[in-house]
């Protein structure tokens, strides 16, 4: 029995030993697991710390990136706005808009100045209305505050010494600020002051860059606007001068026209008054020469013939003057009819044959084929040919040649009267068609003339809508050219 109880106790103790052994092993295992779990938990927490810190960094970067993107977006909008105007006030008007806040600043002040003059507040944003004028006064009364910025330096709360920082934050009532010069190519045009009071805006170096870019944009736009203003003012000044000169010229032209008319009227009146007594003088001289009123001694006859000849010259001169005056004043009525030029030249050649023969001058013609007829006043054009060929005869030495050449194109015929005469000097050519101008040469000294022939020729040609000019080489010859339009001309032109 004792053995049995002993065995039972042994078994019970054995089982208990086994149970407690397993229990303590389990407890030990659990404790080890708990330590392990606790360790893992600590590790997880440490990882959580890393995650949180990394997340914070990432968020900060993301926020800065977002801010930069918003800033660039706003810059782009502002740039587009201000670059499409060339008016300085409009640039600042367009800047005075809440686009500025998208740059990441609550307050903006844009000041400009010229030639070291006082600051003018051009844009204010985020400041109470009643604070803007005092701010401008503060910066004007203490110009040394902004002097470094005026010299092109950027000052910001990120880098400025504490005393400078305190001055700016105090004046602008902000926590952070940036002061950037507005630069053109050559100089500083103004200053941008931007700042934040709120804790929710944190300024970074990127913000400094954005404001610097904005300042550059404004600088370019301002420089363009000022250049445009300068060009605009110059152009207005030029226009004013042109208008003044035009007025002066118009007035001078009117005066010239008035004088010309007075001259024509005078010539016309005087010529009429002279011609009447001349006709009488010539008539009486002619009667005396015939001897009908008594025998005329030879010496008297000789004198009378001179009177007759000089009277003829004088009448010719007066007639020419009258013709010029009439053409100038438009009082000559041209009769434009279709005529062929070769036949006119032939008539003139006939008329001048004695003179040609006297000097043994060969007169030749050269006409284009199918030369068209020309609408002209044949009488007047005949006078042109007579004058030009007569001149050529006068200037051509004995046995010389005179050539009349006529060419044409679709709009006009061109006539050239060329001689092999003594030629005309360059300086004389310019004055050749001036009334009463006579070239000084040996021939003219011996042959009398009025100096009105070529002036009259020019008037007649121009009255037909043509042009006249001359080319000449001294000792070789001269050629007078004139053109006549081929188309019909119905009215008398004003000379």
């Amino acid at each position: 029995m004792h053995n049995f109880y002993g065995l039972l106790l042994f078994v019970i103790f054995g089982m208990l030993a086994l149970f407690f052994g397993r229990y303590f092993r389990n407890v030990k295992n659990l404790k080890a697991s708990l330590v392990q779990v606790s360790k893992s938990f600590q590790e997880l927490d440490a990882q959580a710390k890393l995650i949180l810190q990394t997340d914070l960094e990432l968020n900060k970067t993301q926020e800065a990136l977002d801010k930069r993107l918003n800033g660039l977006d706003a810059l782009h909008k502002i740039s587009r706005l201000i670059s499409t105007t060339l008016i300085e006030d409009e640039i600042f008007h367009r800047l005075n808009q809440p686009f500025l806040i998208e740059l990441g600043f609550e307050k903006f002040l844009i000041l400009t100045f010229q030639n070291n003059g006082p600051f003018t507040v051009r844009v204010d944003f985020g400041f109470p209305r009643n604070e803007v004028a005092p701010l401008g006064k503060t910066f004007n009364s203490k110009p040394q505050i902004l002097q470094p910025v005026k010299q092109g330096k950027i000052i910001s709360s990120l880098s400025a010494p504490k005393d400078i920082k305190d001055i700016f934050t105090g004046i602008l009532s902000v926590r952070q600020f940036i002061a950037t010069p507005i630069l053109s190519q050559k100089n500083v045009l103004g200053i941008i002051l931007a700042g934040n009071q709120s804790e929710s805006y944190t300024m970074t170096e990127g913000d400094e860059e954005v404001i610097a870019i904005l300042a550059d944009q404004i600088g370019h736009s301002l420089a363009n606007a000022r250049l445009f203003e300068q060009v605009f003012r110059s152009s207005q000044e030029l226009e004013r001068k042109v208008q003044d000169r035009t007025k002066e010229l118009t007035s001078a032209l009117e005066e010239v026209k008035r004088i010309s008319k007075t001259k024509s009227d005078f010539i016309s009146a005087v010529s009429h008054e002279l011609r009447t007594p001349l006709t009488s003088i010539k008539g009486y001289a002619s009667i005396l020469i015939t001897g009908k009123v008594g025998a005329v001694p030879d010496k008297v006859r000789e004198r009378l013939e001179k009177i007759n000849k000089h009277t003829d010259n004088l009448v010719g001169l007066i007639n020419n003057l009258l013709d010029i005056s009439r053409i100038e004043s438009g009082r000559v009525e041209m009769k434009f009819l279709e005529h062929d030029i070769p036949s006119i030249i032939a008539n003139v050649q006939d008329l001048l044959t004695p003179q040609l023969r006297d000097k043994n001058i060969q007169f030749t013609t050269a006409f284009d084929d199918a030369l068209p007829n020309v609408f002209m006043d044949a009488g007047q054009i005949e006078r042109v040919f007579i004058n030009l060929i007569n001149n050529a005869i006068k200037l051509t030495p004995i046995s010389g040649t005179i050539t009349a050449k006529v060419t044409h194109d679709s709009r006009k015929v061109t006539v050239g009267i060329a001689d092999t005469g003594i030629g005309i000097k360059e300086e004389d050519i310019k004055k050749l068609f001036t009334e009463f101008y006579r070239v000084e040469n040996e021939i003219n000294q011996n042959v009398k003339g009025t100096g009105l022939g070529l002036a009259l020729v020019k008037k007649i040609v121009e009255a037909h809508g043509g042009q006249i000019w001359v080319t000449s080489t001294v000792s070789v010859g001269t050629c007078f050219y004139f053109t006549l339009p081929t188309g019909p001309k119905t009215s008398t032109p004003e000379a």
Partner: protein, 395 residues
């Protein structure tokens, strides 16, 4: 006619013209001179005292409710500047609005009761479906105001309260009521009649790191966590960066890594932004955190926030039995404005796609969010939240 809704929006630089353009545009869609309700949101670029009277006149002096906001949520964009108006007429939905000004000078609990009374007395005995309130988000003691509202509503009406906001300066916010723009006030709206309402609230944050237990609290202050000063929680994870919490709500740690308070017996977390740190290391929250609560640091990213918004929108759709709502209101926490950054527009686009094209939507970013749509008083300590998106669909 059922319900007709028009939305107008303007970014005109002239304040009065912006108000006029937005109001006229919204009213044009109604094709009626009658307007039952106008919801107005405007950014701080526009002086509310000039905006609201203009809209009030154009809206035929109808009920107006609204607030200032850093950004306006619209179907096509999130606008950082502008004036937006949603004008509504309906044969089925009944609206009534009310307000209490000068909250700073009043007993807030009493003011809350007064607000409900004035709103509901005008509304009459018609069936009530939702009580909505906008209070100045910068005021202290809004919990008392909510208490007053709760006492008067008696758990028989879902309620949403949002705090009006400014542009992150936390200086002055505005609440709109009829032709008045006030600060330090509250304005309210009750909706009822033959209508259905779907409400959902979501955030995209997940807990990270070890859970901790709140040891000592004093109102909205968390004094100690796991036997250490409360601020040690942030110091442990963020090192010296935790110092920035002293700057207040603008600290990135405040809105990016809020505290998550786990609801008892639930996997859900209620968010608390840390608004500051006292010298002794106490964390200042927007509202109370119960002693013994399990808290975690929370983390999220744009994708998780986007997913949360999509879930909220789907939830609302489900509550409305997949029918297209007459209009949708979106109330996002101001912190989400920062969190989403340039991705905010994508979030709105996602919500829009879930409700389908042509559903009028308007929304604002708010400072605080309070909501209650269960009739269970045990959820009361969790009324105040941050960092959420609240979507309200009305059918």
């Amino acid at each position: 006619m059922a319900t007709r809704v028009g939305i107008g929006f303007s970014q005109n630089y002239n304040t009065r013209l912006a108000a006029q353009e937005a109001a006229e545009q919204a009213k044009k869609y109604l094709q009626s001179t009658r307007v039952d309700l106008a919801i107005v949101f405007s950014t701080i670029h526009y002086a509310p005292a000039e905006v609201i009277p203009v809209i009030y006149d154009i809206m035929n002096r109808t009920r107006i409710i609204g607030a200032s906001t850093p950004s306006i949520i619209l179907p096509s964009q999130v606008a950082n500047r502008g004036v937006a108006v949603m004008a509504i007429i309906s044969d089925q939905i009944r609206f009534e609005s009310g307000c209490v000004p000068y909250l700073k000078l009043k007993d807030k609990t009493e003011a809350g009761r007064e607000l409900v009374k004035s709103t509901l007395s005008e509304f009459g005995q018609k069936q009530r479906q939702l009580f909505f309130c906008i209070a100045d988000g910068l005021l202290d003691g809004l919990s008392d105001l909510i208490d007053g509202i709760k006492q008067e509503l008696m758990y028989n009406l879902p309620m949403i309260m949002i705090g009006s906001s400014d542009d992150f300066r936390f200086q002055q916010t505005f609440q709109y009521y009829k032709d008045t723009a006030m600060s330090e006030g509250a304005t309210s709206l009750v909706l009822g009649g033959r209508m259905q309402v779907g409400i959902s609230i979501q955030h995209g944050f997940k807990p990270i790191g070890k859970p901790r237990t709140v040891d000592k609290v004093d109102g909205p202050l968390i004094l100690s966590i796991n036997g250490r000063k409360a601020s040690a929680l942030y110091e442990q994870y963020f090192g010296t960066e935790a110092e920035t919490l002293k700057k207040g709500p603008s600290s990135p740690l405040s809105f990016r890594y809020p505290l998550g308070v786990r609801l008892p017996g639930s996997q859900q977390y209620i968010l608390r932004n840390v608004l500051g740190v006292l010298d002794g290391g106490a964390l200042i929250c927007q509202d109370k955190v119960p002693k013994g609560a399990e808290v975690n640091i929370m983390i999220g990213n744009q994708a998780s926030h986007l997913e949360a918004a999509a879930e909220a929108a789907k939830d609302v759709r489900a509550q409305l039995t997949l029918k297209k709502p007459s209009f949708v209101l979106i109330f996002e926490s101001i912190t989400r404005c920062k969190l989403m950054g340039r991705g905010a527009a994508e979030e709105i686009s996602t919500i829009k796609n879930i409700f389908g094209d042509g559903v009028p939507m308007i929304g604002t970013f708010c400072l605080n969010q309070f909501f209650r749509f269960s009739q269970d008083p045990s959820t009361d300590p969790w009324l105040v939240q941050n960092g959420n998106v609240i979507i309200v669909g009305v059918l």
